[in-house]
């Protein structure tokens, strides 16, 4: 099965969710700044990465985990992925997860300053604060997703 976590930029919440799914992070403990920055793709994506499904790893059950930046496509992105999967006859082999519902204002502002404006010195501390606050929510989303993959 392929699991696609998607968010606005494919750079923060989706990467965090994918990292939690792949057990790169401990769901019981919000990561330190350095651990977060070590995650592949975390706060590192560029404009050309929008719309690209990027591989993050394979989980312990053999499911492949991906991240995607879909800008403001919202839940339409999930609907589109699932509709196209149905068209191809692979709807039972993919799960698309929208991470935006678990993102808070600090993550949005920090992410915008860091990625869009390129001011990482200012943006990253705000992003870090937001990510720590949202961590449990994102971990919960991942837990739900992992349960779905076991059904």
């Amino acid at each position: 099965m392929k699991i696609i976590y998607h968010c606005y930029g494919g750079s923060h919440s989706s990467v965090l969710a994918a990292a939690l799914h792949l057990k790169m992070l401990d769901p019981a403990r919000p990561p330190a700044f350095e651990d977060m920055m070590l995650l592949p793709y975390f706060d590192k994506t560029r404009n050309i990465d929008f719309g690209t499904i990027r591989h993050m790893g394979t989980d312990d059950l053999g499911h492949e985990v991906y991240v995607l930046g879909k800008k403001n496509m919202g839940d339409r992105c999930t609907a589109m992925i699932m509709s196209v999967a149905r068209l191809l006859g692979v709807e039972h082999e993919v799960i698309a997860v929208n991470c935006m519902s678990r993102v808070n204002l600090f993550m949005m502002i920090g992410g915008f300053i860091s990625r869009r404006l390129g001011w990482t010195t200012i943006g990253r501390p705000i992003l870090f604060r937001g990510t720590r606050d949202a961590f449990r929510n994102i971990a919960n989303l991942v837990e739900i997703t992992r349960l779905k993959t076991m059904q």
Partner: protein, 110 residues
Amino acid sequence: MNVIFVGPTGVHHALIAAHIFMGDLHSNDYRFVEHYDDKEADLKGDLLYVGEDANGVKVYAFGAGANYELAPAIIADLRDLFGFSEEELVARAVSIPGNLLFYGLNYLPP
């Protein structure tokens, strides 16, 4: 083969492009095109099946919202992930001047 035309909505210019592709648009009066301006169908978020052309190509329209231009790349990536080829599925973005203004106006209450 399947072709998906993607626009901000799937029931306006993406739908018209799909009919032009199929060669069955015989009038500029789009009001009589099935599903034209059918917001309910658009809001479902599913691919809208438009029909099949003379060569057996199945044609769909899809509304991907304001950032519709990303959709063909996502669809292509998904297709490639599952080992399908361009022979089986192609998606194209359809734009017109004033695309996003049109998209916004579309969702104003009547």
